[in-house]
């Protein structure tokens, strides 16, 4: 017989969890005590519970493993909600263990009590309240199973304090059967045959892929299939790295800040092969405008509810992406010929490419795009890039060419400012030797700045690329373009001296103000200060905007280009 707290730790060990991100408190003291008595599961002590969940989330995003966070009841839980919702929107597998007041106090407004299951319900894949120590091990097993299978997502397990003190036999189930949860894995062969036929007839095809390719580790299959088909490929923000950005068939990211060629190719395609993507508002713009063109859509996704949600799909294929792609290629081996008109389509795409929609004007100030290009050069394209949310996020997505999956770590769905720094911590726990660049702005970085302290404690050598324009850049851009330059609350005064701030936490700080200093500073950070956290405060052109841009409610082809202004 062992205690409930020891059962929790044994379960984590059985799941081969090597680290958890957390913060102790009253309701989880038994669990922390059990954690203390072993060394298989490492604990990373964050400075705010939100960061624990973000770090666990990035641990998942940057590896194929499930991230784990551990927090106490009440405020510990409410602080995790932003992180859980962030992971939920991007379908990230994660298990969050939360302490709860003793079961006999539940409902009595006890100290640090909150309705964890109720508060987190709309932003989890599933959640549990453990009511009996005998259910503890199987519940944790279910949590890992549900988080990592089907369309992945975060799962919360709420554990009352008295349960962690009770004694019970430990028996960890090897497998789990749930009559109510059996996600489809294998695609329907008849549908796949139909898809292959349509691909063969396509005159203006495009392969449009999203986060599902990354999550299901299908980058290799996607690349092979795309090469076999010789079709253009575009990625969503969440899909970057799913297809090599330096490949000649890649037309760039699509959507609100997508390239001219990607958005036009998507709009005018006669066949769209959508893979692990969900046609969201930031991707297709105005759905009425999008549906003006006649086209056939093939959609491969593990989640049936993503299919025909916003765009009517002709051939739905529910299944695990790599398996379905293998099936398609197998069928293609039986004599597949692409349509001869494909050559003209490529000519059209090259003409669109000729607009060079990512070109930007240099100024006497540092241009943020230039910093991204230099970051790409200096890191050889091999860095894990975490980002916050705003203009800098779009610049990173547009100018850092991701050739590999799981290297671009950002909050796409929820758009959570403040994730960048804790994301860097999670990446480093899953990939200890990685080069990690956190691309951020002076607005976002201050939302989780306290984690500089965690980084010092554990020696996380994150390179913070702060694109500092003294403005909430994306808000300012919208105000400039759509609110007649009324810059309501988008100007940040009283910024800290970030160099001194970094130094106060025991890190290296740099301030870079001239374009010619950008590359040397980056080189110095990634070589001389390889093992240090370096906070690089780039003072950038405050007027720089992200282009192309599809304004909210506009159609994909109604882009505003930099050259239009």
């Amino acid at each position: 017989m062992i205690s409930g707290a020891e059962i929790v730790i044994r379960c984590l060990q059985e799941e081969k969890v090597d680290c958890v991100f957390g913060y102790p408190g009253g309701s989880v003291l038994h669990i922390y005590d059990a954690l203390f008595k072993q060394d298989q599961v490492k604990h990373i002590l964050v400075r705010h519970e939100q960061a624990a969940v973000h770090a666990a989330d990035a641990y998942s995003r940057s590896s194929q493993r499930v991230g784990v966070a551990l927090v106490t009841s009440g405020p510990g839980v409410t602080n995790t909600v932003t992180g859980i919702a962030t992971a939920y929107m991007d379908s990230i597998p994660m298990v969050v263990l939360t302490g709860q007041v003793p079961s006999f106090y539940i409902g009595q407004d006890a100290f640090q009590e909150c309705d964890t299951v109720g508060i987190t319900r709309p932003c989890v894949k599933h959640n549990f309240l453990v009511k009996d120590v005998k259910d503890l091990a199987i519940t944790i097993k279910k949590a890992f199973h549900i988080a990592s299978t089907g369309r992945p997502g975060p799962v919360v397990v709420d554990i009352p304090k008295d349960i962690t003190a009770q004694m019970c036999e430990f028996d960890y189930p090897k497998t789990i059967q749930m009559r109510s949860y059996n996600p489809v894995v294998k695609g329907h062969l008849g549908q796949i045959k139909k898809a292959v036929q349509i691909l063969q007839e396509a005159k203006r095809p495009i392969i449009y892929t999203g986060g599902g390719v990354i999550l299901s580790d299908a980058a290799e299959q996607l690349t092979r299939l795309a090469h076999k088909l010789n079709f253009p490929v575009t990625n969503t923000l969440m899909g970057l790295g799913g297809y090599p950005a330096t490949d000649k068939q890649f037309v760039g990211m699509l959507g609100m800040h997508g390239t001219f060629e990607a958005n036009n190719a998507m709009h005018y395609a006669d066949v769209i092969l959508a893979i692990g993507a969900r046609f969201d508002d930031r991707v297709i713009g105005n759905p009425e405008h999008f549906s003006e063109e006649k086209r056939r859509v093939i959609h491969i996704d593990i989640d049936p509810s993503s299919i025909s949600k916003r765009v009517k799909v002709d051939v739905p294929i529910v299944g695990n992406v790599p398996d379905v792609l293998e099936e398609i290629m197998k069928l293609m081996d039986g004599g597949f010929k692409t349509d001869p008109e494909l050559g003209n389509w490529w000519k059209q795409i090259d003409e669109w490419r000729g607009r060079e929609s990512l070109r930007y004007k240099q100024s006497e100030h540092i241009m943020p795009q230039f910093v991204m290009e230099k970051l790409y050069e200096v890191t050889g394209g091999n860095a894990f890039v975490t980002s916050d949310v705003g203009q800098h996020q779009m610049f990173a997505a547009q100018y850092y060419k991701f050739d590999k999956p799981r290297r671009w770590i950002n909050s796409g769905g929820l758009g959570t400012m403040g994730v960048g720094l804790p994301y860097g911590m999670g990446v480093l726990m899953a990939n200890p030797d990685a080069q990690v660049a956190c691309v951020t702005g002076e607005g976002s970085i201050q939302m989780c700045i306290q984690e500089l302290s965690t980084c010092k404690q554990y020696g996380f050598p994150i390179k913070i690329i702060n694109l500092n324009n003294g403005m909430l850049g994306m808000v300012r851009q919208w105000q400039e373009m759509f609110y007649s330059k009324r810059y309501s609350q988008s100007y940040v005064t009283s910024l800290p001296d970030f160099v001194k701030l970094a130094e106060a936490y025991g890190h290296v700080g740099m301030k870079i103000e001239k374009p010619e200093d950008v590359e040397p500073a980056l080189r110095k950070a990634f070589t001389e200060h390889k093992n240090d956290l370096v906070f690089m405060d780039f003072i950038i052109d405050p007027g720089a905007n992200v282009f192309p841009m599809v304004a909210a409610g506009k159609g994909l082809t109604e882009m505003i280009l930099a050259e239009d202004l």
């Binding site: 369309r151 749930m178 109510s180 509810s305």
Partner: protein, 164 residues
């Protein structure tokens, strides 16, 4: 905007109802009525939701319900032959000449009077929702003291069986 009756088999766990109700409110789907109770297998509950929406919305409702981890099976009963019933208890003023009239109306609609006082009746009426609506419409509104309806429950006809 067609009327649909969705039947759900769901794990009889605490919080299961709030997952379904929360899904409907979060995604802006209609709930006109909802009934739930355990089945012959106490580990399962059967829920019936009366909703309305276009074909696209109904497709999303069934897909989203199926995605809930606790949901075992979902079927749109109104897609094929089915029977549906709703129970209503209605308390009416029954004095003077209205007393006889109320009794007669209850008989016409095959209702039963299950509680009698000097001045009131409680009438029990079962049937399709439209029949209950008609009964209410047939009474003098001023005589209705209180109504309570269970919401629709339904079952497929013949071989259409919703079971694990």
């Amino acid at each position: 905007m067609l009327r649909h009756i969705i039947s759900i088999l769901i794990e009889n766990e605490s919080g299961a109802l709030s997952r379904v109700a929360g899904l409907f409110s979060a995604r802006g789907y209609n709930i006109e009525s909802l009934t739930v109770a355990p089945t012959e297998d106490p580990s399962l509950s059967r829920m019936t939701i009366l909703t309305s929406g276009s074909d696209e919305v109904l497709e999303q409702i069934t897909k989203q319900l199926n995605k809930l981890v606790d949901v075992v099976k979902v079927v749109d009963l109104s897609e094929a032959a089915h029977v549906e019933r709703e129970l209503m208890l209605i308390k009416v003023r029954a004095t003077g000449k209205d007393r006889e009239e109320m009794k007669r109306m209850a008989d016409i609609f095959r209702g039963r009077i299950i509680d009698v006082t000097e001045s009131t009746y409680v009438i029990e009426l079962t049937g399709a929702s439209s029949k209950l609506d008609s009964f209410i419409a047939a009474l003098d509104a001023g005589l209705i003291l209180e109504t309570v309806r269970t919401g629709v429950c339904g079952i497929g006809r013949g071989d259409r069986i919703l079971k694990v």
